[in-house]
Symmetry: C2
Subunit: 125 residues, 2 copies
């Protein structure tokens, strides 16, 4: 019994798609947010994540749910109440994504300086 070969560098490998879901614009923010808060409902996520449209939030959540990253729990009440949280697998992914965020936040001046230096180099020529 062999472990499946997974190669994100192969454009036809299905892992490429999962990688893109995990690293998608709204996907990363959802993961970080849920990692911080544990559980959030749709409208809370909507408010917390600046710039997401209703449509993109719903769509991204569905993709992440399908990949086993996010759990969706519907409370059988009216008006509707739907809770989202990370699965154990999702928590692993979210930690990695959050490391990326911490790096950006922690070394923000480095990023700014790099950008300034680059723009200066280009401006001269």
């Amino acid at each position: 019994m062999e472990s499946a070969t997974v190669d994100v560098f192969d454009i036809n490998c299905p892992s490429r798609a999962v990688m893109e879901h995990l690293s998608s614009r709204w996907g990363v923010l959802i993961q970080i947010m849920l990692l911080r808060e544990g559980t959030m409902r749709f409208s809370e996520l909507r408010r917390a994540i600046g710039g997401v449209s209703e449509k993109m939030l719903a769509q991204t959540l569905q993709t992440l749910e399908r990949d086993g990253i996010v759990d969706r729990f519907v409370h059988p009440v009216i008006p509707p109440h739907v809770d989202y949280s990370l699965t154990e697998l999702g928590e692993q992914a979210a930690r990695a994504v959050n490391t990326l965020f911490d790096l950006i936040a922690g070394r923000w001046t480095d990023f700014e300086q790099a950008q300034d230096a680059y723009d200066k180099r280009k401006g001269e020529k």
Copy 2:
């Protein structure tokens, strides 16, 4: 002297853009590849990363160079020879991205099962 406030959840915060560069489709693959190989030239990256066009590779490399993730070294020869490698900052980012890849590769069956289960649930309804 305060550390700058950085908030990826604010659509107007410049950190949002950097996060998108780091997690972009081709950005993640470039980072993982350079982390593995150390240094690669343009044409090597082009061959190694399935599906990248010349245009997108050049464009993504420039963005990553501007953000201080990637170093670009032009050998003054004809025909041109350009080497790309990770900066120290880029190496930190690449490690986080690579963790994501390891997760996908290491737990691929979990992802597949989650997808199958989701599709089955939906198919029934």
